[in-house]
């Protein structure tokens, strides 16, 4: 028999209040059924609690293309497409009405000469949408006006230059009031991977403000927050750059430190800010190991303590046998991280509180805390109907949890609550 500790109870209450407030601010968003999960028991040396299953709410099927990333703003979701499915290219961005539980396809845009439209993101002010485009030599980004969020209008689609080798990921972030696109460029033969930062002050004429060879052999996702830039550089680990926090700038970043996670293959990053505990010391790092898309994957979620930016240290790990992680989305108010886990669906991790403190029995052989043993794995989701899934991305929003499944399209589930 185990009991939640008082600090967890307080956290749960605060989280519930915050969640209630967020839901109240959600406007016309539906109030989906939510799955309650028990509070964390990170220091209790018992058999891990079996995770619950998120409540399935709806699906927007995409049978003709493989689905890639998902982004949600308000009652509209955007999904991109990948590769070639029976001869149909991943050159579409699909637009979904998600005001009801069942996503409804309302429109799509086709990106010229794209084989994959990878990352998609709407700017914080809702005015622009950015789409990453592959492949070599037709790589680039497409920037759309979102005056009508259900009917994006193309402003520009870049061609040539450093982006032509393929923009594998692209992240929008505002730094000191200026909107930037952080573009991770695929390596090509004789052309190493590179991070290119575009100033989107004039969306019709993106301007390169920083371009840096980066990653061995790939630069993948980046994460920008509070003047820090985190770069997932595969074998080189995660770079931590000052782009404004300590005197650096976007055009002249300063490398502060480098986090090396067990196994390398650093693919994506999320710097967790916990509004309840005020903690900002954990970095979630996704590892993408070699796999066969559609059927197998491998790679863990690594937790890195960045209390000392110059000397980050990995303190915990979450591993799923037979599956590997991909992209993250974190509900910081509730302290839940949603990790796309390809053929493993979606995994919900409790990231509130101490992740790097655990009992001996909860540690891996190399001394890291094992989040599974700590009962931090709180819920799973794999769509409905028992069909095979291969979940690329997740997006948590106040209106629900959205998962982009390469094989089946867009899934919607009720988010986890405490």
């Amino acid at each position: 028999m185990t009991y939640a500790r008082p600090r967890h109870m307080m956290g749960a209450i605060a989280s519930a209040l915050l969640a209630t407030a967020l839901s109240a601010c959600g406007g016309s968003d539906p109030a989906p059924t939510q799955v309650a999960v028990t509070p964390p028991r990170d220091t209790t040396p018992t058999t891990p609690i079996a995770p619950s299953v998120l409540t399935h709410l709806g699906q927007g099927a995409v049978p003709e293309r493989y689905t890639a990333e998902v982004w949600v703003r308000g009652t509209t979701a955007y999904t991109t497409t990948w590769g070639t499915r029976a001869g149909v290219r991943g050159n579409a961005v699909k637009i979904w009405d998600v005001s009801a539980n069942q996503p409804q396809l309302v429109d799509s845009v086709i990106v010229a000469n794209a084989t994959t439209t990878g990352d998609v993101q709407v700017s914080d002010d809702g005015s622009l949408m950015l789409v990453a485009i592959e492949s070599n030599p037709n790589g680039g980004v497409a920037i759309y006006s979102m005056a009508n969020p259900r009917a994006p209008q193309l402003i520009t689609r870049t061609t040539g230059g450093e982006l032509q080798y393929g923009v594998h990921t692209a992240e929008l972030a505002r730094v000191n009031g200026v909107l930037y696109a952080f573009c991770s460029i695929d390596p090509a033969n004789g052309v190493p991977a590179r991070l290119v930062v575009l100033d989107l002050s004039t969306p019709s004429a993106p301007r390169t403000v920083w371009s840096q060879q980066m990653g061995t052999p790939f630069i993948h996702d980046v994460f920008v927050r509070d003047g820090l830039l985190f770069t997932a550089e595969w074998t080189d680990g995660v770079g931590i750059w000052d782009i404004g926090a300590q005197g650096g700038s976007v055009s002249a970043p300063r490398l502060l430190g480098r986090a090396r996670t067990v196994g390398g293959q650093a693919h994506n990053v999320w710097w967790v800010h916990d509004p309840v505990t005020q903690s900002k010391k954990y970095l979630l790092v996704g590892q993408e190991g070699p796999g066969s898309i559609g059927s197998s994957s491998i790679g863990d979620v690594h937790v890195v303590d960045i209390s000392n930016l110059a000397a980050p240290v990995e303190v915990a790990v979450y591993s799923v046998p037979g599956a590997g992680t991909h992209n993250f989305s974190v509900d910081e108010a509730r302290g839940f991280a949603y990790a796309a886990y390809y053929n493993g669906g979606v995994r919900v991790l409790d990231v509130r509180g101490e992740l790097g403190t655990c009992q001996t029995a909860q540690k891996t052989a190399d001394g890291r805390c094992n989040l599974t043993s700590m009962s931090r794995h709180r819920a799973t989701y794999s769509g409905s109907g028992g069909v095979p899934v291969y979940v690329w991305g997740v997006h948590w929003s106040a209106s629900g949890l959205f998962a982009s499944d390469m094989l089946n399209g867009l899934w919607r589930a009720a988010p986890a609550v405490r």
Binding site: T84, G87, H168, D186, G289, S295
Partner: protein
């Protein structure tokens, strides 16, 4: 030499029939021997005649899929120095660009015009290398051990040179036993550093090949071959692709009938805007599937004729038919052969004529002469029909 060729492939992809003509395998070969020094040179002009690649079901490599890539202009330029034979032993050192001591002969010098899928499992070619060999021979019987050091990077285009800084980052070893003048068995292995990305960082390949070859010039030829490629990250093996192939040819009154059966596993990569092209290396170390190709090929070649008023010319007309089936080994796969090609079975019919002028080599990819053979009588199998 060169081959004028018309190929129709149905379906080539997306249920569509493609019919194309080529001048394929245009080569200028030259060998020279001065005392103990032998030069082997081959210029390949496919970069001029075959830039889009040649329809060839299942073939892949160097950025192409289902089309065979053009080879580099300098296909071979090897200088070999052999010591005199002492007590049956002969040492050879060789350097230059060419075939590494791994696997079997270049398909170009074998009976069929279409390459087997296992080309990149069974040969490692167009590398800058240093090679050393020890051969022990008694009459027609010999045992040869070769060791080569070379650059791992695959060619990125027909007119692009190797990464000189990478010469020596890869290696191969081949043991060849010839117990009879017509029989040869070899086993070889290779470590190839990052062939997919010239700047490094892609999968390394650990390759293994073994073959048994029976060759009576002008009469009978057979090859039994198995090959395997492991893609690895450091010491961790990630993917394994295997191949088995048997081919044979019999000549009767100048007519050559040849047959080949092959089963080879192919890694699948994302297709580019041109659906016959793929990126070099695997993006994010991800495959989009593994396809097992099973292909049967038959060829009938007519007796060789000359071209009137052109001395030393030889023309060998042929017709070649292949039936290929492709099956995904991992499911669910995002590369589904039956969806991509429009059928799980593909047919290919090729008619053409192989033309050469002068004396042809019998083999390609060996820089240590078989026991008792001098370079001047080392012609091609095709010239002996």
């Amino acid at each position: 030499m060169g081959t004028g060729l018309l190929t129709t492939a149905n379906p080539a992809l997306l249920g569509r029939r493609y019919t194309e003509g080529y001048l394929t395998q245009p080569n200028l070969m030259g060998d020279a021997t001065v005392g103990p020094v032998r030069f082997t040179g081959t210029l390949n002009f496919e970069g001029y005649t075959l830039r889009r690649g040649e329809l060839n079901a299942g073939i892949y490599g160097e950025g192409y899929a289902d089309r065979r890539h053009p080879h580099t202009l300098v296909h071979e330029a090897m200088l070999a120095l052999a010591t005199p034979t002492r007590a049956g032993f002969r040492l050879t050192v060789a350097g230059g660009k060419g075939f590494t001591p791994y696997g079997t002969d270049d398909p170009m010098m074998r009976p069929f015009v279409k390459y087997p899928v296992n080309h990149h499992h069974a040969q490692i070619l167009e590398r800058v290398q240093l090679l050393g060999a020890v051969q022990f021979a008694r009459g027609d019987r010999s045992v040869t051990v070769e060791q080569g050091w070379f650059n791992g990077d695959e060619p990125v285009g027909p007119f692009t040179g190797p990464q000189w800084s990478r010469v020596g980052d890869s290696r191969s070893t081949r043991l060849t036993v010839a117990p009879h003048r017509a029989i040869e068995w070899q086993v070889s292995r290779a470590f190839v550093r990052s062939p997919g990305l010239i700047q490094g960082g892609a999968f390394d390949h650990n390759q293994l090949s073994s073959s048994l070859r029976y060759d009576v010039p002008d009469k009978r030829y057979a090859l039994l071959e198995i090959a395997r490629t492991d893609e690895s990250l450091g010491a961790q093996r990630v993917f394994r692709f295997a191949s088995a192939l048997v081919e044979t040819s019999m000549v009767h009154r100048g007519w050559a009938f040849s047959g080949r059966a092959e089963r080879t596993d192919r890694p699948e990569s994302e297709r580019l805007l041109d659906l016959f092209r793929i990126p070099n290396g695997h993006v994010d170390f991800q495959l989009v599937g593994v396809t097992r190709w099973s292909i049967g090929t038959v060829q009938l070649a007519a007796p060789r004729t000359g071209i009137p008023r052109l001395r030393s010319t030889h023309v060998t007309p042929f017709v070649e038919v292949a039936r290929a089936t492709a099956r995904a080994l991992r499911t669910p796969a995002v590369f589904v052969p039956a969806e991509f090609y429009g059928s799980d079975t593909q047919w290919s019919v090729s008619v053409g004529a192989r033309i050469h002028v002068g004396t042809m080599r019998r083999r390609m990819g060996h820089y240590v002469l078989p026991a008792g053979i001098r370079s001047s009588n080392f012609p091609s199998a095709h010239t002996h029909r």
